[in-house]
């Protein structure tokens, strides 16, 4: 039910899920009054949705109410992940939610400021700062014995095609796997970073290249998933032994959930066959779902996971820390989308790494 199939495992922790409620835009709160809100935050980890006839209560790892500051979101969500990244874990932070629920504000900050020193800057710039702060500290501690190399790439997935946001001239790119290095986007630009400011520059430059669409329903809606990846490589010389460690930090801004056509997030929606298109191109997905429910027998499914799932599979399936920030808008008009976002987040909590080991039980116990 989600674009992530495998999740962190070593400590067996499921994906951590944070919910953040944005304040309604100015003006609307006053006119609507409290009755205009479809939810209330009960405590730091529960939220009540005023559904009828029975209200629904959801529990998450953390619920941030409307007053929660950017700094506090960063501390409770990302800090730990950035630290693990320094310790060799892969980390991934997702933002999920309907258009207008505050994903971009949470991840980036106010859209009109290109300034990453802005007091309202979001999780991503703060992660940069913290990462480079930790690197500097490590360097000071270890002196010349330890060195770091940071590189970043920034891609977007639109209509199941991959584009390089750091090289707007590039055509569609492909995912490939390397036996030592895992999944990578073949041909994506990798930029070397030496400071948080530099990282931020790359980010804002790429952000401008994203595909955005406006419809009469939504003023502006991001149609693509954007994945910003930082690779942190450390090299430590201890006598004659060189110890190299490398880890990935993925910062993901998912497409607006109301437009999510990703197979795994679609929920109950039927897949529509185009009117002109003579093929029922999605039939395969239906059959795939049938086979999926099968009883664990050996089988092969011809249709591969979505690009997003595949790209993040490694960082989710191995020693990785993952969290999802589910953004919701409290207005009662957003009830439907809020419910589906919370349901999604609820499902996400259940995801665990299925480290199924082929193991034969017969005949060995004699």
């Amino acid at each position: 039910a989600l674009p992530l199939l495998n999740s962190p495992s070593i400590e067996g922790d499921a994906i951590k899920v944070y919910v953040r409620v944005r304040p309604p835009s100015e003006g609307t709160a006053l006119t609507d009054g409290d009755q205009g809100l479809c939810l209330s935050v009960l405590s730091s980890n529960t939220i009540r949705l005023h559904s009828k006839p029975e209200p629904k209560i959801f529990t998450f790892d953390y619920v941030a109410n409307m007053e929660t500051t950017q700094e506090s979101v960063f501390s409770s969500v990302a800090k730990n992940i950035v630290e693990s990244c320094m310790n060799g874990y892969n980390g991934t932070i997702f933002a999920y939610g309907q258009t207008g629920s505050g994903k971009t504000f949470t991840m980036m900050g106010p859209s009109d400021s290109d300034n990453f020193t802005h007091s309202l800057r979001g999780v991503i710039p703060r992660s940069f700062e913290y990462l480079f702060f930790l690197i500097e500290r490590e360097k000071e501690k270890a002196g010349s014995a330890k060195s770091f190399l940071c590189k970043c790439s920034f891609i977007e997935i639109y209509n199941e095609q991959i584009f390089d946001l750091l090289d707007s001239a590039s055509a569609g790119l492909f995912l490939r796997e390397h036996i030592k290095k895992g999944v990578f986007v073949d041909g994506a630009v990798e930029q070397v970073l030496s400071s948080a400011a530099e990282a931020y520059q790359v980010l804002t430059m790429g952000w401008r290249n994203r595909r955005v669409a406006s419809t009469s329903m939504n003023r502006e809606s991001s149609r693509s998933h954007a994945v910003f990846t930082i690779t942190v490589e450390s090299m430590e010389k201890n006598n004659e032994i060189v110890n190299i460690r490398s880890s990935l930090l993925n910062l993901v801004d998912l497409a607006g959930s109301e437009r999510q056509k990703d197979t795994h997030t679609e929920g109950l929606r039927l897949k529509e066959a185009g009117n002109i298109n003579r093929s029922l191109s999605c039939l395969g997905q239906v059959i795939t779902a049938l086979v999926d429910v099968g009883n664990g027998k050996q089988r092969h499914i011809c249709y591969r996971d979505s690009k997003l799932t595949f790209l993040l599979r490694d960082s989710l399936g191995g020693n990785a820390k993952t969290c999802i920030i589910a953004n919701v808008h409290p207005g009662s008009r957003c009830f439907g989308e809020t419910l589906s976002t919370l349901n999604f987040a609820q499902r996400a909590k259940l995801i665990k790494n299925k480290a199924v080991v082929n193991e034969d039980t017969q005949g060995n116990v004699s």
């Binding site: 892969n90 796997e177 036996i179 669409a213 066959a273 480290a355 004699s366």
Partner: protein, 594 residues
């Protein structure tokens, strides 16, 4: 009509433009304004609607109603396409209301079914799958009723805004009508899937595929992939005949893909590569077919220690002879794909591999060889460089094929060689693999290698037991195989440690059983190590005891774990009781003077 005169031609023209905008132009809309053409189409449709109401007086009521229904339908689809569901629903509802009295007549039936299809889609977008189901099932019923009572090719909705001379041929009408119904079935397949009526969903998928073939509404590659995937559904239900039929059809239809020139006719290298990949995917489905057939046969044939049971073998062979006469009758007609030509090729394809359980080595080997050929085919595309996961999965299947073939082999030496083949294909891959990115596969390989060495060791022991006396060569062999098995089990257990190298206090559910089995097997392996040095022997027994104790202690602490390892636990308890006494005896022998 005559009164409208030239006006009517203009109306038709507008309608036609709206349809083109909506269906063709909209595909080229800029990403920033994805619905530009749809919005223009909508405006045109509204205009047509107004023109119609202006002409209302004097027109024939029924004719007008149908035309208006067409417009409501187009507007309904337009609104749902642009994410305005409520408005879309209103239009579609109005459409069905207008048609209700005439829904069984040839000029309405197709439109009515399509409106219901769209209402089904609309309700599914609201996650109201039950409501969607009612619309779609009623569309299905209407189709059946119409075909029974009338059956003539009905008018296509677009014809209501066409000049007389442009009207479609019967053949074209029938094609479009059947296509609309195919869509109904296809949506129903999804509805049933969402409602977890799996069998019914599979049946509707199957029918959809069948109809695509019948009405030539398919892309060969895509069709083939769908059929191949469906075969995997049948596989999980152990329906080997159906599974094979789907796969054979997939292979036959896929082979057409190369012959039909592609739509654009400028095949790029990428297209070629895609085609190669699809071919490899179908090969992988065949591998699974062979593997499952062999493994299921093994399940039927094995005795309680996992060896081939000759009595059972004889019994099954007699049974099969009896069934063979009835075989043709048993064939389910409903599952057959294609008309004569295709059907013949599919049947010829099926001939190449059996769909009944192999009962002896010779039969098993034939299936194994087919599977192995597909392994080679799949590997041609899924090379390690670029397709690590897929490549390794294929190698794992290859290894599994050898493993199950070995079951049918009676000669222990030859059986051992088959396992050696497995080691030879798995070990180099494991050595290269980076567990930071491929933790799961890496664990699978560790475990499989450990198990293979373990099995080889057991075989060598069995061979040794037939000898008068164990020779030093065999002893060396047994010991080294046991050590290798231990090595890989330990690697697996190490992979469970956290970054500070600490073994988890409580094991995760998904690794619980493998971890416990690994511990148990290591305990047994230390027990099997052969040494003439009594001190060494005592050490081995001590280690063995520690591993057995781990199991017992762990299950005491976490009683939930007992279920996963019942047999192992029982034996471990026994060993924990026995070993100390044995060790005591051995110690006494070592130091007889104390």
């Amino acid at each position: 009509m005559a009164a409208a005169g030239g006006g009517w031609a203009a109306v038709c023209e507008k309608f036609r433009t709206a349809r083109t905008l909506s269906a063709v132009e909209s595909r080229n809309d800029p990403e920033t304004e994805p619905y530009r053409s749809k919005y223009s189409a909508r405006a045109l449709l509204q205009e047509v609607k107004q023109l119609l109401s202006a002409a209302e007086e004097g027109g024939e009521a029924r004719l007008l109603a149908v035309r208006r229904a067409v417009l409501e339908y187009e507007l309904g689809v337009n609104h749902t396409d642009t994410e305005e569901l409520s408005a879309g629903e209103e239009h579609l509802q109005r459409c069905t209301q207008l048609l209700e009295p005439h829904r069984l007549s040839p000029d309405c039936v197709s439109l009515y079914i399509q409106a219901q299809n769209n209402l089904g889609i609309l309700w599914s977008e609201r996650d109201e799958i039950k409501t969607a189901q009612t619309y779609l099932e009623s569309a299905e019923a209407l189709y059946n009723q119409y075909m029974k009572e009338d059956g003539n090719p009905p008018i296509d909705p677009s014809e209501h805004f066409m000049a007389e001379e442009e009207k479609l041929t019967d053949q074209e009408r029938s094609k479009r009508f059947e296509k609309a119904y195919t869509h109904t079935l296809y949506y129903l397949a999804q509805v049933y899937q969402h409602l977890e009526m799996i069998e019914k969903a599979a049946q509707y998928c199957h029918t959809t595929l069948k109809r695509q073939l019948e009405y030539c509404g398919y892309y060969p590659v895509e069709w083939a992939l769908n059929a191949a995937t469906l075969s995997q559904y049948y596989l999980s239900k152990q329906c080997f005949m159906e599974s094979r039929h789907c796969l054979a059809a997939a292979s036959v239809i896929f082979s057409q893909a190369g012959q039909v020139p592609s739509a654009e006719d400028n095949e790029t290298e990428q297209d070629q590569q895609d085609l190669q990949q699809r071919k490899a995917e179908i090969a992988r489905c065949w591998i699974k077919y062979c593997l499952n057939l062999l493994q299921s046969a093994r399940k039927l044939l094995e005795d309680n220690v996992g060896e081939l049971d000759p009595d059972r073998q004889l019994e099954l062979k007699t049974q099969r002879k009896k069934e063979e006469d009835e075989k043709e009758k048993g064939r389910k007609k409903a599952v057959l794909f294609g008309t004569s030509d295709i059907c013949d090729s599919v049947l010829a394809m099926e001939e190449k591999v059996s769909s009944v359980y192999p009962l002896d080595f010779q039969e098993a080997r034939e299936i194994f060889l087919v599977g192995q050929n597909y392994v080679q085919e799949a590997k041609e595309f899924f090379q390690v460089d670029g397709y690590v996961t897929d490549h390794i999965e294929i190698v794992q299947d290859h290894s599994a094929l050898f493993k199950v073939l070995a079951f049918f082999e009676e000669d222990y030496e030859r059986r051992c060689k088959m396992h050696k083949r497995r080691v030879d294909m798995l070990e180099p891959i494991y050595a290269d693999l980076n567990p930071q990115y491929y933790l799961l596969i890496s664990r699978q390989l560790q475990f499989e290698l450990a198990d293979t060495y373990y099995e080889m060791m057991d075989l060598k022991v069995a061979i040794g037991n037939r000898l008068e006396e164990l020779d030093s060569h065999t002893i060396k062999k047994i010991n080294s195989l046991a050590q290798l098995a231990i090595k890989y089990y330990e690697l697996f257990l190490d992979s469970l440690r956290n970054p500070d190298k600490v073994f988890p206090e409580q094991l995760e559910e998904d690794v619980l059983r493998p971890a416990m089995v690994a511990k148990f097997h290591i305990a047994r392996l230390y027990g099997k190590l052969i040494t003439s040095d009594s001190k060494k022997q005592l050490e081995n027994m001590q280690t063995s005891l520690e591993y057995y104790t781990f199991l017992v202690d762990y299950c005491e602490k976490y009683p939930d774990a007992v279920r996963a390892v019942e047999t192992e636990l029982e034996l471990s308890k026994e060993m924990v009781g026995l070993l100390p006494t044995r060790m005591e005896r051995l110690r006494a022998k070592l130091c007889p003077f104390i």
